[in-house]
Amino acid sequence: MDKLIRLEDAVNLVSDGDTVMIGGFLAVGTPERLIDALIAKGTKDLTLICNDTGFVDRGVGKMVVAKMFKKIYASHVGTNKETGRQMLEGETEVVLVPQGTLIEQIRAGGFGLGGVLTKTGLGTEVEKGKQVVEIDGEKFLLEKPMRANVALLFAEKADVRGNLTFHGATRNFNTYMGAAADISIVEAGKVVQLGEMCPDEVVVPGVFVDFVVDGSEL
């Protein structure tokens, strides 16, 4: 099944009010063209789940500047002054989540798990409102699964079935978000035909990918 989709049709899969997961780490491995197209479309009231909020002119940060989010879950927002301003002035709700916890919550959301137990955050503000579970005498925080309506991801290369490969440090959150979203859209740097990707090199199997936008044509 061919999963190729045009950019303009891809962004129409995101609706106002949706929760979106967006791959990338400080704008490395971010689907920049999907982001630009969403900004052009003017989608609003989104909830973001992303490692960080990038920079004002790069990555998911451009969407922050365009005021597209009502709520943001991220591990770090310090590289984007606009996120800080919106947070301190109460325009956007920001929930800070430890990075290793965030990726595990996403993994749990996509992999059918009821949550994860971690020591990260014990004794800190992260613990507030959460269940502490004792296993064999050791305390852990229960962190619940996260899911999204849509995941927007980046890969170096995709085949038409949505099998993905990566280059450098671009895997980050891109490898698990597709599993945790109802619809996952990948912006691929390059698209190859069926049989042109060796099964051995596939990092993310196409089962987690619904649509592929060919970034080389943009």
Partner: protein, 218 residues
């Protein structure tokens, strides 16, 4: 010493703590400098939590690859034998106890090893990024920082800022000396001879035990 010299002095001393075969994660800012001073002949690998082991030196103009950046978004290289992975693996490495040493900066450290380094409520709220996971998972936690902030002690009986982790810090290295965090409290084990013991005690906001084996700071 000016600020840059102070930071280099601290980084140089931290680097002596790194042992042959160690896997090390360096925080952004001062800790990043530590990589420049690894003693010759010690095989130390650096992890970057955005997804690789084997962080190498900064690239030349021609070597720059936008997909190979460190966790502070600075372009880096990857050394022979390095590996790329996603955030779930990266934090499995961190939480799972596979990182030997992490070096981080701090706003405050308490005599029981509590550390605050991710936010000043209402002023600066960048987020914890991977710090909470590193503090919980790394085998050894070294804080590398200037001894005071604008003359105010950062080594305290108790932290007043929101904690990043409890009982996490093992060693503190400042321009004044090397301090171990022990069940008895802060123990000065090395002294920078540019400062008297009285000066170091006055700059420390908690009792400072002077080790019987006090050495000159290397």
């Amino acid at each position: 010493m000016d600020k840059q010299q102070t930071q280099e002095f601290i980084a140089r001393r931290v680097a002596l703590e790194l042992q042959d075969g160690d896997l090390v994660n360096l925080g952004i800012g001062l800790p990043t400098l530590v990589a420049n001073y690894v003693p010759e002949g010690r095989d130390v690998l650096f992890q970057s939590e955005n997804g690789f082991i084997g962080v190498g030196p900064a690239p030349t103009e021609e070597q720059i690859d936008p997909c190979i950046a460190n966790a502070g978004a600075m372009p880096v290289t990857i050394v022979p034998g390095g590996s790329f992975f996603d955030s779930a693996v990266s934090f499995g490495i961190i939480r799972g106890g596979h990182v030997d040493v992490t070096v981080l900066g701090a706003l405050q450290v308490a005599e029981n090893g509590d550390i605050a380094n991710y936010m000043i409520p209402g002023k600066m709220v960048p987020g914890m990024g991977g710090a909470m996971d590193l503090l919980n998972g790394a085998k050894k936690v070294i804080v590398a920082m200037e001894h005071t902030a604008k003359g105010n002690p950062k080594l305290l009986k108790q932290c007043t800022l929101p904690l990043t982790a409890v009982n996490a810090v093992d060693l503190i290295i400042t321009e004044m000396g090397v301090i171990e965090v022990t069940p008895e409290g802060f123990v000065l084990i090395e002294q920078n001879p540019d400062y008297t013991l009285d000066e170091i005690k006055a700059a420390t906001g908690a009792p400072l035990i002077i080790s019987a084996a006090l050495k000159q700071m290397a």
